[in-house]
Symmetry: C2
Subunit: 321 residues, 2 copies
């Protein structure tokens, strides 16, 4: 079985970016040059019944909303605002008493976010089949600033920040109702200089590994600085791999590192900007927590006490194919 | 059950195009203004195992190829060349002996077209589930000329043309191997002035109805001018509704009108351009057939003999939800 990391790396090698694509496979979205004008950013995510929501317990409005929200989170991670949505549906013909009602409610959820963030549903494709509901969303966006923000810009010395708090999103249902961090993304673009940014969809551990891999650097997290969400005080939904040489005793911290579906922003800024951000804390649209530092090298370490660090395993929601 | 036509009309009303979207729901693709630069066109189509191909008999390479090809056909219909592809996969975990092999072969089919038409696979999303294979493709493109071509530009007096020949695509397997009409689209943009264009995916009858509806005009087809594909001499795969007042005796012509999955271009030009196109027939990259005329009014008529016309029913592959 190929891991997702290997799979994406293979794909990126096999399908190199050709003009006008400036950034292709491997970031939260792709960047297309638009013949000298401002660039266009495109993101896509597919949500499946039984994997990303469960229609037996999830109201269709929230399934439709989540399909848009996860893509908005990707755009926020790229420092972009949304311009248009393209929604493809595979609608179940079995086990659905009223298909018109299902469709209406899915689009109610979609409309709640196109209205809130003022962009168009500009196209899509609707099919019916003898399978479960699948929703694919493709969003276009344009940068809040001059350029989109990438994962690959982190530099040694940078401070690592995260918005909000992490963990417990799946079992609390927060993954269905979270507000994509577009306001925070715009604030960051306008008030500071972000070096690298991505969203946390699969878990802080695995996503931080992706960020440092893309940037060619390493990271050290301070365990006691990581904001644990109140939802994570319950049972962790994450599938953390407890290796013999690394087992965190604090279940809340484990959840924050590995649960995933947080859809918070993970970003790095130069040290002097970090000091400024921390001073501006009260003006910020959301809680920003400084959780560690970018360093030279490869991989991620977790400082669990001031005197002790451990390798941070790549855990979280890494799917196997 | 809502018809697709009503569904799309409802969606377009509910989700009006907001800037920078210039053309939203209802054409082969959406048109986005790029801040003064050349516009961007975006198309999307989802293909499902058991609906658009059948993995029990379809090699995965052809399923992957078709997912790209149907979207290229939409871009050709908009008078655009492709720039980037975004591919989302829902991969089956059951009934697949070797998932890596399935993925590799899907991407082989995808690569055959990204290489042939020189554009990037720039992103996507890959998931696994306990369902059948679903493939969503979103393609971006830019016009061969100054502007994309829409369905809505047909004018009374225009001649109606179609590329290639129609019918029998599904049962012959042609729907898996057709060459999207990008060369023909580019040729048309460079050598004539097309008023309206779309691709024939659901069948000439239903797609012509869509074109005249979008343009606010009517059409009259000449039955004996419609190019029937040799594949249509066999069994028609179409679900033509034989109403008591309209039954075509010629099964080949019925197939050409209603089978769908032809992925040929349907377009209209002014009468003087039609004469010129017919004279240039030998220089054309593919066979172009003049099959009728745009007239004032609403709806579509089929002239079955020089003296007799009938209303052309909206048949073909109209899905019900």
């Amino acid at each position: 079985m190929t891991t997702e990391r290997q799979f994406i790396s293979d794909l990126a090698q096999r399908f190199p970016a050709r003009p006008p694509v400036e950034v292709g496979i491997g970031d939260d979205g792709a960047v297309l040059d638009c013949r000298g004008a401002s660039c266009q950013v495109i993101v896509t995510d597919m949500l499946l019944d039984g994997v990303h929501f469960d229609l037996r317990s999830t109201p269709p409005e929230l399934a439709g909303r989540k399909a848009i929200a996860v893509n908005l989170s990707d755009l926020a991670a790229m420092g972009c605002r949304p311009t248009a949505a393209f929604v493809s549906l595979a609608l179940p013909t079995r086990g659905t008493s009223d298909q018109d009602d299902l469709v209406r409610r899915l689009y109610d959820g979609i409309a709640s976010l196109t209205d809130q963030f003022d962009f168009s549903l500009a196209g899509g494709d609707t099919n019916a089949w003898d399978g479960r509901l699948a929703i694919n969303v493709c969003l276009t966006g344009i940068p809040f600033g001059q350029q989109p923000l990438l994962r690959s810009g982190a530099r040694p010395g940078d401070a690592i920040f995260v918005t909000g708090a992490l963990g417990g999103s799946l079992h609390s249902g927060r993954h269905l109702s979270f507000l994509p961090r577009l306001a925070e993304s715009e604030w960051l673009v306008r008030h500071t200089q972000v070096h690298a940014m991505m969203d946390i969809s699969d878990g802080l551990s695995i996503d931080l590994h992706r960020l440092v891999d893309a940037s060619g650097v390493a990271a050290e997290l301070l365990a006691w600085q990581i904001p644990v969400h109140p939802d994570a005080r319950g049972k962790s939904a994450g599938g953390i791999v407890e290796t013999t040489d690394f087992c965190l005793p604090d279940p809340g911290l484990r959840a924050a590192l590995s649960d995933g579906e947080d859809f918070e922003l993970l970003f790095t800024v130069a040290p002097e900007e970090a000091a400024r951000l921390n001073q501006m804390a009260t003006q910020l649209p959301a809680r920003f927590s400084e959780i560690g530092r970018i360093v030279d090298g490869r991989g991620c370490r977790l400082r669990i006490t001031p005197d002790e660090t451990r390798d941070l395993p790549e855990t979280g929601w890494q799917h196997e194919f």
